[in-house]
Symmetry: C2
Subunit: 159 residues, 2 copies
Amino acid sequence: ARPRVGYFYSGKKKEQQLSENMMNMKVRDFQSIPVVVHESLSVYDAITQMFLEDVGTLIVVDEKSFLSGILSRKDLLRTAIGTTELEKIPVHMIMTRMPNISYCKKNETLVQAAKLLIERQIDALPVVESTDGGLAVVGRLTKTNITKAFLSLAENHDF
Amino acid sequence: ARPRVGYFYSGKKKEQQLSENMMNMKVRDFQSIPVVVHESLSVYDAITQMFLEDVGTLIVVDEKSFLSGILSRKDLLRTAIGTTELEKIPVHMIMTRMPNISYCKKNETLVQAAKLLIERQIDALPVVESTDGGLAVVGRLTKTNITKAFLSLAENHDF
């Protein structure tokens, strides 16, 4: 073990790298491709889409393709057990909508995004860019991305 | 910024702490309470239980209270849209069952558990203890736990 107090020679240290790595982890380097559906899609088709893409969260956009809502597996499951005609309900009836959506930007740190995921008790954040007309959806950041980032910290070091 | 090469005085370094913290992170320190249901519970009641406890994964146990299956939101959603009589289907009909369940032990490192979550593409692991009769369920480890661990690495340091 390295002595905790004293003078010693320092190359580029593992520990130093680890700290630097964590500071430099940005949303853009770990985000996933967003899976986006339109507000008018039926709940049934949204569930199908969620299975096809194998994601836990669908991002809903309006007719101008700007962010308008979020659909979690929980939202879809709640509707699926409460309703029989899932083909007739558009997702905008059940989605969480703006301004109640938490999101992040690609240049934020992963630590900021992780904080938001935990504080709001959600599984995923849309990654957005502000434009004149609204928020353009450019990515999706999930607890899976954070778990991979956590592993990448470990993989860079010999524990 | 600290010079990357050279001699310098070292107290207990932030970077050193970070590295040590990561090595010392064990499943037992981050695990959640397991939410357990019996094999004979109906799918409908399992969904209700999942909402009541607000978890993404239910752990299924047999009559001796040993691990026998896992139910994800995805499993329940698939059944909910494919079937009308959710009250009549017991969860053992739809669960992922032993030996196809990934699990971990409380003394394993969080890095080992995180690797398993990513490799198997699952959201949660039961934390188990081996006994003569089977695997006793003592906890639940999820990507939320890993995300909190990731944050705790950052919170111990001034980035």
